[in-house]
Every structure is written in structure tokens, then in C-alpha cells.
């Protein structure tokens, strides 16, 4: 049994297959692990992928790019309007739906997406050597129901059996298996996705293996293409400097430069310098230029700043500091840029930066893992995609003292834990005491605890005195769905046990 995860981005699509407990990206027939999401229409065939992208210079009006941006949108949508204004293909409205007009024929965005999905399916099938239908598809967090439906329909039309649509940031988390091994504990993860055309940053709280999105922000004005454009502008000025021709007005020459700049940008992520060479760029003149990584970083410094500002802004918005983030996941092809990784690392000095999986493959791998989880399960499709789950509202803490004897509070049941839940802790007390008092407090996060936050205490009396030793107190906290709490404490040595049940004030 195998299943695949497909990520359809604005600029690229990527598929990963789950087989025998492993998820891995499958390479397409050209050997590339990522397929450009470009579809070219000619008289008798549709070309998907790199070939279409490279031929775009010659076949501008019949090549569809960034189909994801218009999928499931209607004409009134500002995003769609923006897209139509930029698109080189003519987009017309018919029966309230937007369609591409290619060679006099109408092609809907769903059809284009369908072609891309078919290509991805084909890729996965040839890599696995078997028929694959079960698929998990990723969608951006800001996709509405209509867009989700359109994407789902496109995938279904391509012959895929969509098990579930999941959000891109959660897929990224899943790819790294965050929270999947030990379901207790709570952490905040920041997902930094810098794709081809957009930057989206999401803060996810992982609690008991469940992901909860705290806040998310998408910026459509910055993406990998901006870096390419900046580099292309630089190349154009270089060309002007050496040949006194300004090619900026010539769209075809600029497109050639963009292609060259993109290749250079990619190689600069691994190499110190890259060579740009364009045959007959303008007026029969060849263009040859060397760009060093330092030069590239200088050109794009403003863009880097913008990328980082977005993180700071989002953190400020949710009231978190860099220290509250436990992990940072990088995804999207443009987060390969070494300078960007370095800058993010500087922003979160004490945080683990997860980039062991190539950033542009993280999301499909996560999707494939989810597909593996869902594989063979009955009724995988949830009625309502996101179902509300009861969570505890406040932290439950226990007062303890540290080495110096000062009061200190230990969180034993964090807020936001999906209910019902049980948490088990082994607390310790000095062996010289014959009694132990467990004082329970409730509090919102980050608010200093006051004495009137205390709601119960558990006292264990007549314990065996162990000079120099420690009492191990096994504390089990169980909270039901309505929020009522049951706490039991057992002394491991004597087996003495005390339990209380705290109801919620009505």
C-alpha cells in the first residue's frame, strides 16, 4: 500500500510518496524533484513542467503560470483582479467563472490544476511502479472553502482519491514529526514558508501531539521571484554598463535574463559565485557575467530585511518573544538561501532551526506522511475539516521550592491541552519531612501567580522519614471534557494515596 502527498504551489508542484513507513519525494521524468507548475497549451498537446517553463518566452500567451492564485476565485476578488492584470494569458469571465482563453478555447483554472495533478500522479506512479490513488493535498492556511473545493475537484478530476486536505504549515510540522513521538508536553513552533510568490509565517502550538494554529500571516508581496527580479535588474544594469543598451523595456530580453537569474540564484545557494550567460540577449549581443554570493546578498538585503520584519511583526502581534518559540521549521524553496537561514538563526539564537529536509520538499513529505497515517483507515474524510476540541483554559501549577528554598511554580497541566487528558508527574519532596503538601494553583499563562489562584491542596501525612533521601510522589491529573479536574497523589514508598475532584464553577 502506498499513498502520496502532493503540494501544489504557485510556482512549483512537488509530490512525495509514502511507502513502507517512509515518505520520500519522487523525481519526475526529467529527474527533477520539483516540477514547475507551468502548463503550456499548444495545438494538440498540453505540456506541464520544465519544458513549458523554458518555452514560455516563445509561447507567452498560451502558457499558464501561477494557477493557484486564481483557483476557486471569482471575478470580484481583489487577488483575482490583480492576477488578471498581471497575467500574460487572457482571462475572461463566463457564467460567473473565470476562464483562460487560449487559442479561442476556454480553459478553466481547475483544468490547469488537473493537468498538474495528473502529472504529479504520473510521476509518483512511475517512481513507485504501481498505481497510486490515495492522496493528501496541502492547501495554504488562507484558502477559503471555495478554493479548497476547487483544488479538491481538480485533484479528483485527475483521478486522485483525496483523503484529506491539510494545511501547509501543519504538513511541515508533520514532516519533522514534531510532537508525534511523545504526545505530552507543549511547545510553540514557527513555520517559515518563503515560496515562489508569497511569504507565510505561522505559529503553531503543539500540545499532546495536536497542532493548533495560534496565528498566521501571509504576505503576497514577497517571494522567491522578488530575489530573481532583483538579480535580473542587476544583470540588466551590468549589461547596460558594458553595451550601453537598456534591455529593461524589452520584455523578451528580460524574460531571458529572469531565467538566467533564477538559475544563478539557485546555484548561489550552494556555491560562492555563479555565472550568468545569455546568448544573444539583445541586438545579437551575448551577455556574460559573474555574480558572487556576497553581491547577491547585497542586492537583496532590503528583501531579507522585509522577510525578517514579517516574523517580528507576527510575534509581536501574538505577544510572543523569540524565546517562546521552541522550534523553527523552514519550508518553501526560497528558504534555502543561506543568508536568510543565517538571519533567522540570529533572530532565534537558542532555537533549533529545522532544515534537514530540503525546504521545498518539507510540505509534500508531511502530506505523504499524513497520507500514510490515513491509509487503510475507514471514513478518513471528516465531516467538518476542522473540528473544535475542548481544551483546558488555564495552566495548573504546583507550588514547589527550588534549591535556595524560594517558591517556584511548576506547570503540571498546561493550558490548551486537548481534553480529556491525563498527565502524570513524579514530584519529589525532601525525605526528612513526614508530610508533603501539594498546593494546586490555576493561572493564565504569563501572569504572575497570586495566592488566591490556589484552588486546592493535597496533604500526605505520616510518610516514612528517609534522611537524605527523597519522597517520590506520583501525581496524576485527569481533566474531563467539561474541565473538571481529578488529582490523585500517591507516595511511592508507603502507598499512601489522596485524591480530590475539583468541579468547574458554574
Amino acid at each position: 500500500m502506498a499513498a502520496i502527498g502532493v503540494h501544489l504551489g504557485s510556482s512549483c508542484a512537488c509530490a512525495a510518496a509514502y511507502k513502507d513507513g517512509r515518505a520520500d519525494v519522487v523525481a519526475n521524468d526529467a529527474g527533477d524533484r520539483v516540477t514547475p507548475a507551468v502548463v503550456a497549451f499548444s495545438e494538440n498537446e498540453e505540456v506541464v513542467g520544465l519544458a513549458a517553463k523554458q518555452n514560455r518566452v516563445r509561447n507567452l500567451s498560451n502558457t499558464v503560470v501561477k494557477v493557484k492564485q486564481i483557483l476557486g476565485r471569482s471575478s470580484g476578488d481583489p487577488q483575482a483582479e490583480k492576477y488578471i492584470a498581471e497575467s500574460k494569458c487572457s482571462v475572461i469571465e463566463k457564467n460567473g467563472k473565470l476562464n483562460y482563453e487560449i487559442d479561442g478555447k476556454l480553459v478553466s483554472p481547475e483544468d490547469v490544476a488537473k493537468l498538474i495533478f495528473s502529472k504529479m500522479k504520473e510521476t509518483a506512479q512511475s517512481a513507485l511502479g504501481s498505481d497510486v490513488n490515495d492522496t493528501v493535498i496541502t492547501v495554504p492556511f488562507d484558502f477559503g472553502d471555495k478554493q479548497k473545493n476547487a483544488l479538491g475537484e481538480a485533484a479528483t478530476a485527475a483521478g486522485l482519491n483525496v483523503l484529506r486536505l491539510i494545511h501547509e504549515p501543519s504538513a511541515a510540522l508533520l514532516a519533522y514529526g514534531i510532537g508525534q513521538d511523545s504526545p505530552s508536553g507543549k511547545s510553540n513552533v514557527l513555520v517559515y514558508k518563503l515560496g515562489g510568490t508569497s511569504l507565510s509565517i505561522t505559529v503553531i502550538e503543539v500540545n499532546s501531539g495536536l497542532y493548533r494554529v495560534i496565528s498566521t500571516n501571509t504576505d503576497d508581496s514577497i517571494g522567491g521571484i522578488c530575489f530573481t527580479e532583483a538579480l535580473a535588474q542587476h544583470l540588466a544594469s551590468e549589461f547596460q554598463r558594458s553595451y550601453k543598451y537598456d534591455v529593461r523595456e524589452n520584455s523578451r530580453a528580460m524574460m531571458k535574463l529572469m531565467n538566467s537569474a533564477e538559475v544563478a540564484k539557485h546555484s548561489l545557494s550552494t556555491l560562492g559565485s555563479a555565472n550568468c550567460f545569455v546568448d544573444s540577449l539583445y541586438d545579437g549581443l551575448d551577455f556574460d557575467c559573474n555574480v558572487s554570493r556576497a553581491r547577491f546578498e547585497l542586492i537583496c538585503s532590503a528583501l531579507f530585511n522585509k522577510c525578517l520584519e514579517a516574523i517580528k511583526k507576527l510575534l509581536k502581534q501574538v505577544g510572543l518573544t523569540a524565546d517562546d518559540i521552541n522550534k523553527v521549521v523552514l519550508c518553501g524553496g526560497s528558504s534555502r538561501i543561506p543568508k536568510l537561514q543565517q538571519l533567522i538563526k540570529e533572530l532565534f539564537p537558542s532555537v533549533e532551526l529545522l532544515n534537514s529536509i530540503p525546504p521545498d520538499e518539507v510540505i509534500p513529505i508531511g502530506a505523504a506522511m499524513e497520507a500514510g497515517i490515513l491509509l487503510g483507515r475507514e471514513n478518513t474524510f471528516l465531516d467538518d475539516e476542522i473540528l473544535p476540541i475542548e481544551c483546558s483554559a488555564k495552566d495548573i501549577l504546583v507550588k514547589a521550592m527550588d534549591q535556595s528554598g524560594a517558591d517556584k511554580f511548576v506547570v503540571v497541566f498546561p493550558s490548551g491541552t486537548p481534553l480529556p487528558a491525563r498527565r502524570q508527574h513524579t514530584l519529589q519532596a525532601p525525605g526528612s519531612n513526614s508530610s508533603v503538601c501539594l498546593e494546586l494553583y490555576e493561572s493564565l499563562e504569563k501572569i504572575p501567580i497570586k495566592e488566591d489562584n490556589r484552588f486546592a491542596q493535597i496533604v500526605l501525612q505520616d510518610l516514612d522519614i528517609k534522611e537524605g533521601g527523597l519522597h517520590d510522589i506520583l501525581t496524576v491529573l485527569t481533566m474531563k471534557r467539561d474541565g473538571s479536574l481529578h488529582v490523585s497523589c500517591t507516595d511511592q514508598d508507603t502507598g499512601k494515596c489522596e485524591a480530590i475532584t475539583v468541579e468547574v464553577a458554574s
Binding site: 491539510i166 501543519s170 510540522l173 476542522i386 488555564k394 490548551g416 519529589q428
Partner: protein, 620 residues
């Protein structure tokens, strides 16, 4: 981190309740923990939680332990043979909790029973023991057997003898609906496959709640089954066929019972529904609402209608007013104009009078009677023709000057007027001439310079045109040729000339055509010197009349005629009568005439064509 010791006097306890209940959050539907979570939720309890609940129940149970272990005299009365009809719960001492008993409780109860009632134990105590299966201990074993197997237990639960199957009657429910039905529904809710059976609620329940309640109960999905009541046991069958037969019997019996059960539930819900005061209330409310809506709609419609009427009225009023105003204005204007005219008339009259008097005073500038009379005439003419302004001018001139000068002025004025009259007359004449000329123009204008068309030629042309109808090969050349051949004037005419002339002739009104014809006739008369006699004039006139009448042979008639000519060959008796009969609207004479014409036309055409061909040949 170390916990502190307890201060003196501190005891375990809850000082206050938790301040906040759980909050609803949305989580991402990914990961295996999510799947596990959903699965747990779908079966409603988690494994670990079950334990907790069980613990609680056990602790509750422990209180009853003593009671349970008491002597059950009823046990002794049990007939081991009739185990099927025993109440397994009370046999195990669980009569007080029955179907709510957990597996653990059943197990514990059985254990306790075994400890107490095992035959070995009782034998040791010196009790009389029944042989083999005849001891009542068998009943305990059977009871446990039934209750420990979930399927069998369910079957037994389904026919629980203590369950009250009754459905309250309508009359009972009339008074205190909720008191009667609430326990009934709660009782029956245990059969539901679905959890969270909606409660009956009370008088204040919302419409949605009541609706949900009834839709739940109308679609009640019961797990109650009646396999326990099977008459025959499948296991007893000796062969496969028998087993099948038994199964069939059982199935039929079960289905019947199940149907009865469903009917029971249905009756219950129906009764409840019909008695429910809330339903009545909702219906009334609905009705009232509908009525109100209807009323509101009617009101709105009426208002709209009124509004429209008023608007139309206002429009009509406005239109009427505007019209009146306009008329008034027109009237005013007319009045004004009339007034002005009157004033002018008066003024002009005055002026005329003045002129006349001045002229009279001066004795019409002459002394002789005749001149006087002539002058008088002239002055009258002046008075008639002159405008007010010029009259005034003249009068002024007359009053301010001497007689001589006045005479000069008047004469000058008279001259001018005369001149004007003359000019007008001339103009009128010119216009008249123009009119006659323009009417004649086509006749003479089309001739074109040197080539004059005499009457003969015109006649010839008309004849030629008629002879060679449209469609003839190189028609105009043929016509021109024909003209040249037959013309007496000897003017060579080309096809072009002929076309022009023919066209201009076509333009002519029939009146002029008649003119030409008449002229031709006159000429004919003159030439032959014969004045047609009165009696011969009549037929000729009639002939003329018929000719003009039949001159337009329509294509249809033409076709009919040709067809008739073909169908009735020459030797047919009374040929022409028949032909005439087949051409409606034409007499025998007409047909004959037309035939002759056609024959002539064809002949002429042939001749002319021959000539053209010959001419072409000679040219070559």
C-alpha cells in the same frame, strides 16, 4: 524542585472550584494523535477514562455489598429447568441496577454468588443438594452465562421483564403531558442506538429543541431485538435442513416482534405528538405568523396600489394642468396677436383714412375730374397695398410738405406699387410657365440635342418596345434597328438613344401617353381624311376601353393562356371559348387579340433578330 512539607493543620481539600471551564479550540486535522483523538471521541470514552469511571462505580457499589450477600430466599425457589424465564439480574443479586450493571459488577456478583452458593460449599454446610443440573446453582451459572456475553445480554436486556412497555393513552396525557410522557421517553431511550437522546423538555423548550426531539423519535433507531424469545433453539437441530427451518421460523418471529416494537414506539411518539401542548402552541404561532405575514403582504400591496393610484392621479392632474396652462397661454397669445392685429388694423385704417383725407384735401393733386378719379383709384390701390409703416411715412411726408411735393411723393409711391404689382404678376407668369415647361421637359429633354423625336418616331418606339418585351436578346439594339428600318424621318438612332427615350417615356405620366396617342389618332384622321362616324366611334371607343383595361396581361394570365393554347390545339372545336374559360377574367375576344399580338410580336422579333444577325455577318 521539591515539594514542601505540610504545615500543621493542613488537610487535603478543595478550597474553591476551578474558575474556568474548558474552551473550544480548533486543531489541525493531521498526525496520528489527532486520529487517535477522533477515534476516542467517536467511541465516547477513552480507555483510561473508563477505568476512572469504573473505580467510581465500584466505590459506590461497595456500599451495597452487604445487601447483596444476604440470603436470597428467592434463589431456592428457582426451577433449574425453567432457567429461560428467570430474571438473570435478580438471580445474581443485581436486580437493583439491572441493565446499568457493568461487566465488572456482573463478574463480582457472580463471584460472590459462587462463593456462597456453590454446591460443594453447601454440601460442606450440610445442605441438601439437587442432583446434577437440578440444583439451583445451575440458574446462577446460566445467569452469568447470559449476562457475561454481550450479545446474549443484549438479547436478555431487550426483553427485560421489568421493562414497562406501556404507552400512555391520550386521555392520560391531556392533563399533565410532561409528567406522563417524560418518564416514558426516558425509559424507552435506553433502546436507542445513538447516544445523547434528546429530552422531552418542558413547556418553555424552543421550537428547534422540540423539532429535534420529534425528528429523533420518529427516526428512532432501536437495538432492541427478540432473539431471546425464540421458540426453538437452533443448536438443538439435528441436521442442516432442520437448522435452516428453525432459523427461518425464528427470523419470522423476530421480525414480527420487532415490527410490533416499532409500532409501539411509533404509537408512543404519535400520541405524544398529538398531545404535546407545545406543538399546538407552535402550530398556532405559525398560523398566526402566516396570517400576519399575509396581512402585511396584503397591506403592502394595498399601499402600493394606493401609492400607484395616487401617483397616476397626480400625473394626470399635472398633465391636465400643463395642458390647461398651455391652452391658456395659446389663448392669451392669440388674444394678444388679435389685439395687436386690431390695433394695427385700426392704425392702418386710420392711416388710410388720413391718406384719403389728405389726398381729398388736396383734391387728389389734380383739378380735372378724370385725373381725380384715376388718382382716387391709385390712392385706393395704395391704401390696399401699402404697409402700415410706409403708409405712416407717406402720411407724414404728406402732412409736412406742400401739395406739389406731396403729389410727387404719392406718385412715387404709386409707381412703386405699380411696379411691384407688375413684378408679382410677371413672377406668377414665370412660375406658370416653369410648371408647364417642367411637365413637358421629359418629352423634349430626353430627345437630346440634335435628334428630335417626331410623333411618328415616338409611336414607332412605343410599338417597338411593346413588340420586343424585356428579355429579348440584345433588346435595345433590335429595337434601334427596327426603328431605323421603319422610321420615316431617316434619323439613325443608336441603342443608347432608344434606351434614353424609352426611359423618359416610361417616366411620363399616363396622361401624356394618352396625349401622344390622341395626337397620333388626330394625325391619322387628318391623313386619311376620314372622320369616323358616330356609330363606328362607339365600338372603337369600347375597343379602346377594353384595350386599356386588358393592356396589363399579367404574367400569370400569360402563363394560363399559353397553357390553354397548348391544351387546346388548333383543331379543337370551339377552341377559343375553352381557352377563355381557362383564363379567368379574360373574354374570348381578349384571348384572341392577345394571341394575335403574340404571333405578331414573335414574327417581328424573328425578323429583327435575323436582321441583326445579318448585319453582324456583313460587318464581319
Amino acid at each position: 524542585m521539591l515539594l514542601r512539607g505540610a504545615p500543621e493543620g493542613q488537610v487535603t481539600g478543595v478550597s474553591r472550584a476551578l474558575s474556568s471551564a474548558s474552551v473550544l479550540c480548533q486543531v489541525e486535522p493531521v498526525g496520528r494523535w489527532f486520529e487517535a483523538f477522533v477515534k476516542r471521541r467517536n467511541i465516547h470514552v477513552s480507555a483510561s477514562f473508563q477505568e476512572l469511571e469504573d473505580e467510581k462505580e465500584l466505590s459506590e457499589e461497595s456500599g451495597d455489598e452487604e445487601l447483596q450477600l444476604e440470603e436470597f430466599p428467592m434463589l431456592k425457589t428457582l426451577d433449574p429447568k425453567d432457567w429461560k424465564n428467570q430474571d438473570h439480574y435478580s438471580v445474581l443479586g443485581l436486580g437493583h441496577i439491572r441493565y446499568k450493571a457493568s461487566q465488572k459488577q456482573i463478574k463480582a456478583a457472580h463471584k460472590a454468588m459462587v462463593l456462597k452458593h456453590h454446591p460443594d460449599k453447601r454440601k460442606a454446610a450440610g445442605e441438601q443438594i439437587g442432583e446434577g443440573d437440578n440444583d439451583y446453582f445451575t440458574c446462577i451459572t446460566k445467569a452469568y452465562e447470559i449476562l457475561s456475553d454481550p450479545l446474549k445480554r443484549r438479547a436478555f436486556n431487550s426483553i427485560d421483564p421489568t421493562f414497562d412497555n406501556t404507552v400512555p393513552s391520550k386521555s392520560e396525557a391531556k392533563e399533565n403531558f410532561f409528567e406522563v410522557f417524560s418518564p416514558v421517553f426516558e425509559r424507552n431511550a435506553r433502546w436507542s442506538n445513538k447516544k445523547n437522546v434528546p429530552k422531552l423538555g418542558d413547556t418553555n423548550s424552543s421550537f428547534e429543541e422540540v423539532d429535534a426531539f420529534y425528528s429523533f423519535w420518529y427516526n428512532f433507531d432501536s437495538w432492541r431485538e427478540f432473539s431471546y424469545l425464540d421458540e426453538e433453539e437452533k443448536e438443538k437441530a439435528e441436521c442442516r435442513d432442520e437448522r435452516r427451518w428453525i432459523e427461518k421460523q425464528n427470523r419470522a418471529a423476530r421480525a414480527l416482534r420487532k415490527k410490533e416494537e416499532m409500532n409501539r414506539i411509533r404509537t408512543l411518539v404519535d400520541t405524544a405528538y398529538s398531545c404535546d401542548p407545545r406543538i399546538k402552541k407552535f402550530k398556532e404561532e405559525e398560523k398566526a405568523k402566516k396570517e400576519a405575514e399575509k396581512k402585511a403582504k396584503a397591506e403592502a400591496k394595498r399601499k402600493e396600489q394606493e401609492e400607484r393610484d395616487r401617483q397616476r392621479q397626480a400625473e394626470l392632474e399635472a398633465a391636465r394642468l400643463a395642458k390647461e396652462k398651455e391652452e391658456e397661454e395659446i389663448r392669451q397669445q392669440a388674444l394678444l396677436v388679435k389685439k395687436e392685429k386690431d390695433i394695427q388694423k385700426k392704425a392702418i385704417k386710420k392711416e388710410r383714412q388720413k391718406l384719403r383725407t389728405t389726398c381729398k384735401n388736396w383734391n387728389y393733386f389734380s383739378d380735372s375730374e378724370a385725373e381725380c378719379v384715376k388718382m382716387m383709384e391709385e390712392v385706393e390701390k395704395l391704401c390696399d397695398r401699402l404697409e402700415l409703416a410706409s403708409l405712416q411715412c407717406l402720411n407724414e411726408a404728406l402732412t409736412s410738405t406742400t401739395r406739389e411735393e406731396g403729389k410727387a411723393a404719392v406718385e412715387k409711391q404709386i409707381d412703386e406699387v405699380n411696379e411691384q404689382i407688375r413684378r408679382e404678376r410677371e413672377e406668377a407668369e414665370a412660375r406658370m410657365r416653369q410648371a408647364t415647361k417642367s411637365s413637358e421637359k421629359p418629352t423634349s429633354g430626353g430627345v437630346g440635342g440634335s435628334k428630335n423625336w417626331s410623333e411618328d418616331d415616338l409611336q414607332l418606339l412605343i410599338k417597338a418596345v411593346n413588340l420586343f418585351p424585356a428579355g429579348t436578346n440584345s433588346r435595345w439594339e433590335v429595337i434601334a434597328n427596327y426603328m431605323n428600318l421603319h422610321s420615316t424621318t431617316g434619323i439613325k438612332r443608336t441603342a443608347k438613344d432608344v434606351i434614353n427615350k424609352a426611359k423618359s417615356l416610361q417616366k411620363l405620366d399616363p396622361h401624356q401617353k394618352d396625349d401622344i396617342n390622341k395626337k397620333a389618332f388626330d394625325k391619322f384622321k387628318k391623313e386619311h381624311g376620314v372622320v369616323p362616324q358616330a356609330d363606328s366611334a362607339t365600338p372603337s371607343e369600347r375597343f379602346e376601353a377594353t384595350f386599356t383595361d386588358l393592356s396589363p396581361w399579367t404574367t400569370e394570365e400569360q402563363k394560363l393562356l399559353e397553357q390553354a393554347l397548348k391544351t387546346y390545339p388548333v383543331n379543337t372545336p370551339e377552341r377559343w371559348e375553352k381557352i377563355a374559360a381557362s383564363v379567368p377574367g379574360r373574354s374570348k375576344k381578349d384571348c384572341m387579340k392577345r394571341y394575335k399580338e403574340l404571333v405578331e410580336m414573335v414574327k417581328a422579333k424573328k425578323a429583327a433578330q435575323e436582321q441583326v444577325v445579318n448585319a453582324a455577318k456583313t460587318k464581319k
